[in-house]
Symmetry: C2
Subunit: 243 residues, 2 copies
């Protein structure tokens, strides 16, 4: 019986991977994942078998990884960002069910809340909420309720999956919900293509964000009531300066 | 003029550091940080100057790092976990103010939301909120309001700084606020000493969590309405299985 590692690669290429993730992949016979992410790292691991599936075939991909491990291989199932946060780790455990084999180890990776915040300055120095705008698996009413609750409780907010081909207006709709509670001039930021070619950032207001087009490779940050722009950086102070 | 890297080390020792963080520290003349974290990694970087300050001297530590960089050294200011999330990056930018020198680069690291979740299973597969229970710099009323808002909006919740010598009962008080909205049997987890000697985990209910003692090296997870325990693992499904 082999072992299955569910590995978060962090954003972009191998540079944002942890030493632990790198060592785990090196120890495996095969790498399983969505083809875009496998392509980003496969040159670092010559001689490994790679198996890929399309984006919407998450359950197929996980079953393939579990079956390979059951057949005796050590398998690295790789995810962009973290392996848990909106990642595949839960599905692997669900599909394994009450069996104890194969052994599973979840290896965390840098999620876009961390890596996007670092690109924009330091917007998450205080309490924050992470919300995905994808309604593929979540009713839009649930997303609205979480946005509204996060704004009313003065969380900094990070938006994952702010847009896709099928839902180009989700970010505008989300901003309209937030603007019921938050002011037009609330500092915000967009991080794009983190750790990859085309990496970029924009610092802007919530009013401007409402009318801004973003793509599926973007992560969006909305400041809390203390967030401000210092020398072009999006900063949420924690109060250390005044101690 | 030198350059200042604000580096998140991830939890515990060097194993959870990214390749990018490792390379940045290698390129520096000196390492600045809280002594516990500098001690965890200094053997990996022989020949570097190390400068440490006590835990509550955050502003002194940041000024020391900025001054060193201004004097011409390349400096790695290291933080446990992420460098931004409850970290020092914002304070560095605040203290640098409107000056553009020294150059600052924030290098993200694995925060305890990612690493603790991986230890417990996969509790953060859906939207979540992160709240610190430390009232050293935040009024307790603000913390209560965020806990209440996160519970009402059905976020999974991660609690940082759930206890310290000065506030042993904060976790109990937080659980009592959550229990106004959430049921006693809501699945929860505690991750301890992540990535370090004494690493451990407990999966339990919110009612049990209320009466559990945790220390300052613990991170606490409260599930959302879909979270359940599968084969001992704390799992929040996203719904991929049903696609």
């Amino acid at each position: 019986m082999g072992k299955l590692y569910v590995v978060g690669l962090g954003p972009g290429d191998e540079d944002n991977m942890t030493l632990r993730a790198d060592r785990a992949i090196q120890s495996c016979d095969s790498i399983v994942g969505y083809h875009v992410y496998v392509d980003l790292i496969k040159d670092r691991y010559p001689g490994k078998k790679t198996l890929t599936t399309p984006m919407t075939k998450e359950a197929d991909r996980c079953r393939m990884a579990l079956d390979l491990a059951k057949s005796g291989e050590n398998v690295a199932m790789v995810c962009s960002g973290d392996s848990g946060i909106y990642g595949m780790a839960a599905l692997i455990y669900e599909l394994r069910g009450e069996e104890t084999e194969p052994e599973v180890e979840v290896i965390p990776g840098l999620t876009a809340a961390c890596s996007g915040a670092a690109l924009l300055g330091a917007p998450l120095t205080h309490d924050f909420a992470v919300v995905s705008l994808s309604d593929r698996l979540t009713p839009w009413e649930t997303i609205e309720r979480r946005l509204d609750g996060a704004a009313k409780a003065d969380f900094s907010i990070v938006l994952y999956n702010p847009a896709s081909r099928g839902r180009p207006d989700h970010l505008r709709r989300a901003c309209e919900i937030l603007l019921r509670t938050l002011p037009e001039d609330r500092p915000c930021g967009v991080a794009r293509n983190i750790g990859r070619e085309g990496e970029g950032r924009t610092v802007l207001t919530l009013g401007q964000l409402r009318d801004t087009a973003v793509d599926m490779f973007s992560t969006v940050f909305i400041g809390n009531s203390a967030t401000r722009i210092v020398n072009g950086e999006l900063i949420t102070p924690r109060g250390y300066r005044d101690v």
